[in-house]
Point group: C2
Chain length 205, copies 2
């Protein structure tokens, strides 16, 4: 079944969880017709980097004007350079029926969620989440302090999940990729998308 | 990641779409830890049929009392015998953390939806749905009457979808199974399920 619009898939999670590795593995899977989200940046192109492929390169003046005009899904400044996800590029790709994949840290994902709530937000969780139950069940073998620290860390991670649609554990990269693939397939099968597509088609008649 | 409760997965769709064939193929897939929903019936057991495996066998008096006590997710009468899905069995299986799969015609699915809205409702669509676009686009080659009939049939099918969460096209049995499997994996990864599971676990501490 064909669908009118592509989906914006946002992969995020705590730092060190392996977002980049999972994203690379996702793009090595040739089954998926995915477009990687291209960022805009004010930093200088490096040797071999192509405008419109690796990044959209621009000046600081232009970037700041775009910020003022709300032209980014999210943006951030790192060591004097600006990086952002241009709404126009995302909208154009989605309207061509292609899915876009954006891998981003938690603060950026929350910005995207505000600007584009219809995106699919996936929280990549550290494998230790599944050990939570064991930690809580196995009592008495650790000091009170260690247990309390672990509980607090786990609580923070659970609270970070709350803005997301799905939680995928990164216990093994291949398994995490399979789960993300299942989410993408399943999101395309949602009734509101399929039925609305056909309804609009019939109304256009 | 472990999850507290199983999911009720309901497969339905227009008659003749191939629900039974897809259900059989799903149960041949050993990756899935699925329990087939066992119906209660007033008909006589056939040779080899086992109570609690093939059906729960009971008397008409008992069945009618259970109807009065709202003990079925859905029930129907066929040629003098009653058939129904006992809520108690479904609840027990879900609370053991097992998913239940129920294949049922559209009227039954709508009854289940009322009694158990938290189920996952999958509409199996005939492959002709994807030809809808072609039909509409390819104009002038058919008489007005044929086109109108087809449009009306398609409209009815689209309206039937509206109570469902997902639409899966049954173009090929294996593809339909893969899609249903993706839906089941993805539903288990939904943030509210995963996060609530951990939250409740921490509160129990």
């Amino acid at each position: 079944m064909r669908h009118e619009r592509g989906l914006l898939i946002v992969l995020s999670g705590p730092s060190g969880v392996g977002k980049g590795t999972v994203r690379k593995a996702i793009f090595e899977n040739k089954d998926l017709d995915l477009q990687y989200s291209i960022s805009m940046t004010t930093r200088q192109p490096r040797e071999g980097e192509v405008h419109g492929v690796d990044y959209f390169f621009t000046t600081k003046e232009d970037f700041q004007q775009r910020i003022g005009e709300n032209k980014f899904l999210e943006w951030a400044e790192f060591v004097g350079n600006f990086y952002g996800t241009p709404i126009e590029y995302v909208e154009k790709t989605l309207s061509e029926g292609k899915d876009i994949f954006l891998e981003i840290e938690v603060q950026g994902a929350l910005q995207v969620k505000k600007a584009f709530p219809e995106g699919i937000f996936i929280f990549l969780a550290p494998p230790s989440m599944s050990e939570l139950q064991n930690r809580i069940v196995t009592r008495g073998t650790e000091t009170e302090d260690i247990i309390l620290n672990r509980m607090n860390a786990a609580k923070e991670e659970i609270e970070m999940m709350d803005a997301y649609d799905y939680v995928v554990e990164n216990d093994q990269v291949e398994l995490a990729c399979e789960r993300i693939k299942a989410i993408m397939i399943s999101e395309h099968l949602k009734r509101e998308r399929v039925a609305n597509y056909y309804k609009r088609m019939m109304e256009a008649e």
